[in-house]
């Protein structure tokens, strides 16, 4: 971001430009393009920390599914992929992959792969998948530049591009290896918004068409498209209310909505939701309202009689609202329009998920956001945001209204769920960029025109010639020079802190693949725990190909992708009952669990255990959610049975049911013999910091098959039933 501010100095002092004899405009263009080029590269390389620190691999959980499907797509072709019925997951139900995923990411990666092959670059599909997210992050910076240029000026565009290139809120989901839907979706989201704002500004059908295609790409890539289909109508509604209705708006919205809707229906997973689900009804209502507005405009033009028009207006509006209300009521009552889904509802009423949908509330990225997370992901952008808001309100236009609405709605949602910080990031960067750009521009122009009459020449400050005609805000500052310098130094200091913060956060916090764990040893050296892959490769090499593995759903995708074995449940949590069955098995006594496992044909059980290494997100810590989800379907499982005075314990004071349930036994089997920490008794659990309560565990129907070197993953074989006599 330093680049933009450096421009005036460069213009003044660089000799090379003068010797090249470029005109001011050409110089400016050259600077702009080179800054953008640098930002493009920066956005890419900042995301390579994970490759440097670990290796080129796919991260976390969901990306493994995406990787597996992409592999399938490149090997078998698009039609096979589209019709793929996957029998290796959700045993015995299976899963229709083509109809239950957003194919945008896989198709994008496959296209990049095929293009590279066509150009004779023989890369492995995994490398393409690993680098897809950084590549699209780079593209996002370009879109951010154009968006910033559209809502403010080129300077703001450049700053926005630089800010978003290294913003931790975005990096957290787009480092190399995090091959997830969000990687391309944020690009698609911002592109759609940019094209729509452009369409509203110009009233041009082609921009609206572009926006519709951007929307189509977004729908194909991520479920977050619901945000677009609700924000855009909301924006149109606000424009209507504030009396900013225009023909441009009419063209832009109608084209975008109708075409976008028709295109979105081509995605099987979305299907007819645009006309059937309650979440999409707002857009349709606004669409109809637009027609009413247009019709009224036309009638007004025809009538020429205000009194008659007033009466007409009242009748039309009332009847339109009545008809709309009745249609909505009938649609909902007859079941044609489905009510809002839980996830959507939990955004509007945040306490809803906690009470009603444990499977949503259990995911750590669905937790509400504390202030420190905002600070961590936005740093100084948070300070700049209110200033940017103020600038936007000072110069209200259709475009700034949009960015303000986008910023505020997404920021609210970010407060409800940690993961939605990602959606808010582009807006926060853009609005903060406006604050930085406008401030710096005012101050530098003041410094440069000091000798001249102080009331002129502020608008041409940094050479943003295109927007200078409509700049009304940048009043000349009658500050003293030293005041301006002090402020500038302050801003630069903040921005440099931002750069430092972002680099540190990217390198230390957001580049961990979470499938390979790293810890600091006693002497400050790095220790790598590669137990997950060890276990999955063991499964792949040592179990029959048709073996069924039961584990908690978190590990389902990884087992199918890396272990190549059938799983009972996975991260696509589409069938709550099935997950609850697994939760019930894990929280029952061994003999009861055995019956459940027999009925599901389970051959192996896999648990993740952190007691030896102190790894805290293991199955014991997730266990209460298994109980809750299991108990949600099977009332036999009761949470209080596993608690002592409302407290979750694993030591001697734990409840008897806890000490003898399957999960406890599998995690702590033979653990009682082990000394984990010097000076502590045997069976000391380092993740929870207690000595376990049941050291003498006997397994009856299962036997230990494999335990990884650091005990993080433990695999048990389910014994066949004994011979009947």
């Amino acid at each position: 971001m330093g680049a933009k501010k450096a421009s005036p100095d460069l213009l003044n002092s660089s000799f090379s430009f003068k010797s090249l004899k470029l005109k001011t405009k050409q110089q400016e263009l050259l600077l702009r393009v080179s800054i953008l080029g640098l930002v493009y590269v920066l956005a890419f390389i900042a995301r390579l920390f994970s490759v440097l620190r670990y290796e080129s691999m796919i991260h976390e959980f969901d990306p493994y599914f995406n990787y597996r499907t992409t592999l399938f797509l490149t090997e078998k072709g698009f039609y096979e992929f589209w019709n793929w019925f996957d029998s290796e997951s959700w045993y015995p139900l299976g899963r229709i992959i083509g109809g239950t995923l957003y194919p945008g990411l896989m198709v994008t990666a496959a296209l990049i792969y095929w293009t590279l092959r066509f150009l004779r670059f023989f890369v492995h599909i995994r490398e393409v998948c690993v680098l897809t997210a950084p590549f699209f992050a780079s593209n996002t910076t370009i879109v951010a530049y154009f968006f910033g240029k559209e809502i403010w000026d080129t300077g703001a565009g450049l700053v926005a591009a630089a800010l978003i290139a290294i913003c931790p809120g975005y990096i957290s989901r787009s480092v190399a290896g995090s091959y997830d839907n969000e990687a391309v979706a944020i690009f698609a989201l911002l592109l759609t918004f940019y094209l729509f704002v452009k369409a509203v500004k110009t009233g041009s059908l082609s921009w609206a068409l572009g926006s519709a295609f951007g929307y189509f790409y977004m729908v194909s890539a991520w479920g977050g498209y619901v945000f677009i289909i609700n924000l855009v109508p909301l924006y149109v509604l606000v424009l209507l209310i504030t009396g900013r209705y225009s023909m441009r708006l009419y063209v832009a919205y109608n084209c975008m909505y109708i075409l976008g809707m028709l295109l979105a229906m081509q995605i099987r997973f979305v299907g007819f939701q645009h006309v059937q689900s309650g979440e999409h009804m707002g857009a349709m209502g606004v669409f109809l309202l637009m027609q009413v507005f247009y019709f009224l405009d036309w009638v007004k033009y025809q009538l020429n009689d205000t009194k008659l028009f007033q009466t007409f207006l009242r009748i039309t509006v009332t009847s339109a609202i009545l008809v709309g209300g009745i249609a909505l009521g009938v649609g909902t009552a007859s079941g044609y329009i489905s009510p809002w889904t839980g996830r959507f509802y939990s955004l509007l009423d945040p306490t809803y998920a906690k009470d009603h949908i444990p499977i949503i509330a259990s995911v750590s990225e669905h937790q509400p956001t504390a202030w420190s997370s905002f600070m961590f992901d936005y740093h100084i952008l948070l300070f700049l945001f209110p200033a940017g808001l103020y600038f936007c309100f000072k110069r209200l236009s259709d475009a700034t209204i949009f960015i303000v609405m986008y910023g505020l709605t997404s920021l609210y949602f970010a407060g409800v769920m940690v993961r939605l910080i990602l959606v808010a990031t582009p807006a926060v960067c853009l609005i903060s960029a406006i604050a930085v750009s406008a401030t710096v521009k005012n101050l530098t122009s003041l410094l440069r025109t000091k000798q001249k009459v102080p009331q002129t020449g502020s608008t041409k400050g940094v050479g943003s010639s295109k927007s200078s005609s409509k700049v009304t805000l940048d009043q000349s500052q009658p500050f003293q020079k030293n005041g301006a310098i002090a402020l500038l130094v302050g801003v630069f200091y903040l921005l440099s802190r931002y750069a430092i913060h972002c680099t540190w956060v990217t390198s230390e916090a957001y580049s961990s693949p979470s499938i390979v764990l790293a810890a600091r040893g006693a002497h400050g050296n790095r220790i790598i725990f590669d137990d997950y892959r060890e276990a999955y490769y063991w499964l792949r090499q040592n179990t029959p190909t048709d073996a069924k593995v039961m584990s908690w759903w978190d590990y389902g995708y990884q087992i199918t992708a890396m272990g190549n074995r059938t799983v009972i449940v996975d991260n696509n949590t589409w069938n709550n009952t099935h997950i609850a069955t697994v939760g019930r098995a894990m929280s029952s006594y061994e003999d009861e669990a055995y019956d459940i496992m027999r009925s599901l044909d389970v051959n192996y059980v896999l648990v993740v255990f952190g007691g030896v290494t102190g790894y805290s997100s293991d199955d014991i810590n997730k266990f209460l959610w298994m109980v809750r989800i299991g108990g949600g379907v099977y009332p036999v499982i009761k949470e209080p049975d596993y608690l002592v005075n409302g407290e979750f314990r694993v030591d001697k004071g734990a409840s008897p049911k806890m000490l003898n349930c399957l999960m406890y036994k599998l995690c702590y089997y033979r653990f009682g013999e082990l000394v984990t920490e010097y000076g502590k008794p045997t069976g000391y659990d380092r993740a929870r910091g207690v000595e376990i309560g049941n050291k003498d565990i006997k397994l009856e129907h299962l036997e230990e098959a494999y335990t990884t070197s650091n005990w993080i993953v433990r695999i048990y074989r389910v014994k066949p039933p004994t011979n009947r006599l």
Binding site: K354, P368, T369, W371, G388, V416, Q475, L487, L494, P640
Partner: protein
């Protein structure tokens, strides 16, 4: 802890003062008479929770021969403790009433008269409290038909049984009595009549609103209103207010080691206390607004000295706020954020 101790001593004192005249002059009422009396009491009471006193307890529980044909779920209440919000007595009593009302609504056979919901109030039924051996609240006790000794604590509802309010209470009852309570029917937030009135008002008001909107003379056309709304939403979000609402975080905690000291800041990321969020949100907002103020409003001030002074103050305040937030963040998350310099520089 401190509260229950306080309550304990209070109760003990009361017990010493109160006479322990337990009288069990029982009429040879047959079981059905007692049941009928309970039914009539229930029909006269709100949401079916019978208000019992010492006399009622001795009549329905002590003097009646076991096994009784009915079970009684007793809620122990104390008006003088309603001010102690951490006990949640009033909330629990409301939920208790809800379970009772649900039970009444979902049962209409012989099961209906097998379980009665009662409450006793401390100041009027001190000897009953003693008889039950209750010395800490909140306390809910199920007296089944076979329970002969009132001090038998097996029917006590655990803390975890009313953790999830009415739902978990109902589960407890269903588990112990083998009766069905059914899904809890909470009264809707707005009654049907209220909703219809609101809808009617909206429908009537719409044409007028639209007329004004078209004329362009509503509050909605005021920039300042929108701006302050926008700043408010920003503040609301970044202060983690949603976190406070969803997690029901208190504004501050009491220090465990020193009860007089209050803890305002919680160490550890992903969690926060109410006041902490607001303080930091305020710091965020102040810096941004000062920046906007300095570059947009201050320039219009004619007096140079005023300008300089205000600017100086703004700079000092901003840098202090930024420093404070960064310091707090490092303290809270435990991260030491530093720059990466080339190794040759070190």
């Amino acid at each position: 802890m401190a509260i229950s101790k306080e309550l304990l001593s209070l109760l003990l004192l009361v017990f010493y003062l109160s006479s322990i005249a337990s009288s069990s002059f029982s009429d040879p009422d047959s079981d059905s008479d007692l049941t009928n009396e309970l039914v009539s009491l229930r029909s006269n009471s709100e949401s079916g929770v019978i208000h019992l006193d010492d006399h009622g307890i001795s009549k329905f529980l002590i003097s009646s021969p076991t096994p009784r044909p009915y079970s009684i779920l007793v809620f122990f209440d104390a008006t003088q403790l309603h001010s102690k919000t951490e006990l949640r007595l009033q909330e629990l009593r409301r939920e208790f009433g809800l379970v009772s009302a649900t039970f009444l609504a979902n049962n209409n056979g012989s099961d209906l008269n097998k379980l009665f919901f009662c409450e006793i109030e401390f100041s009027r039924s001190q000897s009953s409290f003693q008889r039950f051996g209750v010395n800490a609240l909140p306390h809910i006790r199920l007296v089944t038909g076979s329970t002969s000794k009132l001090s038998d604590e097996s029917g006590q509802m655990d803390q975890s049984d009313f953790a999830r309010l009415a739902e978990s209470m109902a589960e407890f009852v269903e588990q112990r009595t083998k009766l069905t309570v059914g899904p809890i029917q909470r009264p809707p937030f707005l009654s049907k009549a209220q909703i219809s009135v609101i809808v009617a008002m909206i429908v009537i008001a719409t044409p007028f609103v639209i007329k004004r909107i078209l004329k362009g003379e509503t509050l909605l056309h005021d920039h300042r209103l929108w701006l302050s709304g926008a700043i408010f939403i920003y503040f609301f979000s970044v202060a983690g207010t949603m976190h406070n609402i969803i997690r029901k975080m208190p504004m501050f905690l009491q220090d465990r080691n020193d009860p007089n000291k209050l803890v305002f800041f919680y160490q550890g990321s992903g969690m926060q206390l109410g006041a902490e969020g607001f303080a930091v949100g305020f710091l965020y907002t102040v810096v941004g607004l000062l920046l906007a103020f300095v570059t947009n409003v201050l320039v219009r001030v004619r007096n140079l000295n005023v300008q300089r002074l205000v600017m100086l103050v703004a700079l000092v305040v901003s840098s202090w706020a930024v420093k404070q937030v960064v310091y707090l963040d490092n303290w809270k998350t435990g991260y030491g954020i530093h720059a990466y310099w080339p190794s040759s520089w070190q």
